[in-house]
């Protein structure tokens, strides 16, 4: 692939930034105060959802102000050992770029993601930096409240909003013109709609769909969207046909789905696809092992166990299958629909169980297991006793109905 369009069409000046007029004004005002040597606040905090232009804005600001740009990633733990060298001193005189005013713009990306380095003084390093800033600083985050309050207080916080659909369509149109691609207007609207205010992902989608084409139609876009959703069918099918563990594992990467969900799909479909009972047994054992790891993840919050669950549900399943496969239409996991179909009945049942449990000094699970089946027999066969029991337990009409039918 050639250059990524989201980079290629990055704004050159702040006023070209799509859909953030308010943010641009505030940023320029702050930069101006730095240029005059009287910073209003030591740092900027740009926060907002992904793909709204935060990083681009910081980069363009540096260019526009003639400042050197130093980008650091806050989640990189080496950052804090170098942070003071880079940010704590004024740039050396006679910087490489003529005309810079001896300032560096220090950009700390993912500032809400100092996870893991926090205990090594990550935020303390930032804090210290903000006390006596030599250089303008920009913190970038998705969620401003993930940043400690004292750091937030030292920043001018600027909100980057989701980009409006019209603005996204406009940006996509400009790209199409530059790339000389004819386009049905509705096609761009569909892309913009899917993006939910994330301009970068809209541009990425456009590139995936339109690059190298003369014309982009609505049909192309709609098919692409369905393709994305239908993917799971292919993945399950490919998974069962994978011949190496690595190939199977990597299938999960192509799919944005947690192992639990993949597990549900496999669980639903393998009994219909597999012919040999030995295959069925091995595949289920692989799923069951994956499930054990998921259980450990949940119970002990041992998130490292996730990786094993993923591997068991992909590679484990793929290697368990040895015999032939039947061709069937894959189905959506039915347990979910079964659960929602029975929701009302289950709630009624549990309501009865609670009443029985209270009356008979036991738990609702014992009530479900050892009382409800026999109450059902009584309610179906002896109306008089049923009425008396119903009165004693204060059962409602629906509850009586449940017992009669159960």
């Amino acid at each position: 692939m050639s250059e990524i369009w989201a980079d290629k069409y990055r704004p050159q000046e702040l006023r070209e930034l799509v859909g953030q007029p308010q943010a641009i004004r505030e940023m320029l005002g702050w930069a101006e105060s730095w240029r005059k040597g009287k910073p209003s606040k030591p740092a900027l905090l740009l926060y907002g959802p992904a793909g709204t232009g935060k990083t681009a804005a910081a980069q363009v600001l540096a260019e526009q102000m003639g400042w050197d740009l130093v980008e650091l990633n806050a989640s990189d733990e080496r950052t804090f050992s170098v942070i003071n060298q880079v940010a704590g001193t004024a740039a050396a005189t006679g910087t490489l770029f003529a005309g810079t005013e001896g300032k560096r713009l220090v950009v700390l990306d993912e500032a809400d993601n100092v996870y893991g380095v926090a205990d090594r003084g990550g935020y303390r390093a930032i804090e210290k930096l903000l006390e006596r800033p030599q250089n303008p600083i920009v913190l970038i985050a998705n969620d401003q409240y993930e940043i400690p309050w004292n750091i937030r207080a030292a920043c001018l916080a600027i909100n980057f909003r989701r980009v409006q659909q019209d603005a996204i369509v406009g940006a996509l149109q400009r790209i199409c013109r530059a790339e000389k691609i004819g386009v049905e207007p509705l096609a761009l609207k569909v892309i913009a709609e899917t993006a939910h205010g994330d301009l970068r992902s809209a541009i990425n989608d456009l590139q995936a769909l339109a690059e190298g084409k003369k014309r982009l139609t609505v049909k192309d876009v709609v098919l692409y969207r369905r393709d994305r959703e239908a993917n799971i069918f292919d993945v399950v099918s490919q998974l069962l046909r994978a011949t190496t563990a690595k190939q199977a594992r990597e299938l999960l990467w192509s799919l944005d789905m947690p192992p639990e969900d993949v597990l549900a799909w496999i669980d639903e479909n393998v009994p219909r696809v597999l012919v040999d009972p030995a295959d069925l047994e091995r595949v289920y054992e692989a799923i069951a092992r994956a499930d054990v790891f998921l259980g450990r993840t949940r119970r002990r919050q041992a998130y490292g166990m996730w990786g094993y669950a993923s591997d068991m549900v992909t590679a484990g399943v793929a290697m368990a299958r040895q015999g032939e496969l039947k061709y069937v239409r894959f189905q959506l996991p039915s347990v979910i629909t079964k659960m929602s179909r029975t929701k009302v009945a289950r709630a009624t049942r549990d309501g009865i169980a609670r009443k029985v449990a209270k009356r008979c000094h036991t738990s609702s699970h014992v009530a479900r297991k050892d009382f409800l089946p026999y109450l059902g027999v009584i309610f179906r066969h002896d109306k008089k006793t049923a009425e008396r029991i119903a009165a004693e337990l204060e059962l409602g009409e629906a509850e009586v109905g449940y017992l009669v039918k159960a």
Binding site: Y284, M339, R368, R388
Partner: protein, 324 residues
């Protein structure tokens, strides 16, 4: 507040310790506590339907007389939402003085082995805190699932599975009072289908009585199947015959529609294995497998997935047995 009891389990629940069948040793020691009105914390361990809850309720009645309901807090560990709810309820309840001349109130915590070890440690601290105003009676199936520090603070009583003659005696008493005809084969059948669990035995009898006033073996097996007690066996038979999807849909019906716990289904699978038409060494291997699944459930695995895997295993075993 007590009107006519319609559910026989309650109607015929013993009201005095002396009426409890089958645990003479335990009963006489409990009686001496009650006489002296000096009660340690108690831990009752034993299978379902052996009289643990009844004994606790009798103690409350005998200690407090008519005011027993005000001086007893009944909690069920599997129904309360976590140890914090239990602690709050205990705190609110134990704060006030007991009514009457007994210097403490009673707190009955049923199914206390449903609490995780961490929760049990929190419970232990709670027991300490209110030891002047409250006595705990903890019910559990296995005392080994209760942490040492709690065990050491309690007098432990083991309730063994009831002997057939004890259950028979109770069933006959009920039959007389309810003017039913109950023959020996009927009694045997009840004991068989209820696996020596008194609560279940009485429920079976009450359900049977709505079908026929003359309760015999045939009626009992009719009730048992009407109450879907055969479903686990049917599920296993389907799996052994290679009908995985049908077996699985029975499993889903038990777990989802009836709301049974995976452990309950598994326990019944365990019991059925011995009676299946399989070579003896195969049965032993299956039991080993069942145990492994049970262990996985205690580790937090998903009961549905694990039981499905077990059914797939049964399918394979069935296939092997057929082809050799």
């Amino acid at each position: 507040m007590v009107e006519a009891e319609e559910i026989w389990v309650e109607k015929y629940r013993p009201e005095k310790l002396s009426e409890i069948v089958g645990h003479d040793e335990v009963v006489s020691r409990l009686q001496s506590f009650v006489e002296k009105k000096s009660l340690p914390h108690l831990l009752f361990a034993g299978p379902a339907g052996t009289g643990k809850t009844s004994a606790a309720l009798c103690i409350a009645r005998e200690l407090f007389g008519d005011g027993w309901r005000q001086n007893l807090l009944e909690l069920n560990a599997s129904d309360e939402r976590g140890i914090d709810t239990i602690r709050t309820k205990v705190k609110d309840y134990a704060r006030t003085r007991p009514i009457g001349d007994v210097p403490y109130k009673l707190i009955l915590l049923d199914e206390s082995d449903a609490l995780t070890p961490d929760a049990q440690h929190a419970l232990r601290r709670t027991m300490e805190m209110y030891t002047h105003t409250a006595r705990f009676i903890l019910d559990c199936n296995y005392s080994s699932r209760i942490i040492e520090p709690i065990q050491s603070r309690c007098a432990i009583f083991r309730f063994r599975r009831l002997a057939e003659k004890d259950i028979a005696q109770m069933l006959k008493r009920i039959a007389r009072a309810e003017k039913l005809t109950l023959d020996e084969d009927g009694i045997k059948a009840i004991i068989y289908v209820s696996e020596g669990d008194m609560r279940r035995a009485i429920n079976v009898l009450q359900a049977a009585a709505t079908l026929k006033r003359k309760v015999d073996e045939k009626v009992i097996y009719g009730v048992s199947s009407a109450a879907r007690q055969e479903e686990v066996k049917e599920m296993l038979t389907l799996a052994l015959a290679g009908k995985f999807e049908e077996a699985r849909s029975k499993l889903f019906s038990m777990l989802i529609n009836q709301g049974l716990a995976g452990e309950d289904v598994l326990q019944q699978v365990h019991r059925e294995v011995m009676g299946l038409d399989l070579p003896e060494p195969v049965k032993v291997k299956l039991i080993d497998k069942v145990g492994e699944v049970d262990f996985r459930l205690t580790e937090g695995a998903n009961e549905r997935i694990q039981l499905e895997a077990l059914l797939a295993h049964f399918c394979l075993i069935g296939d092997r047995v057929r082809t050799t």
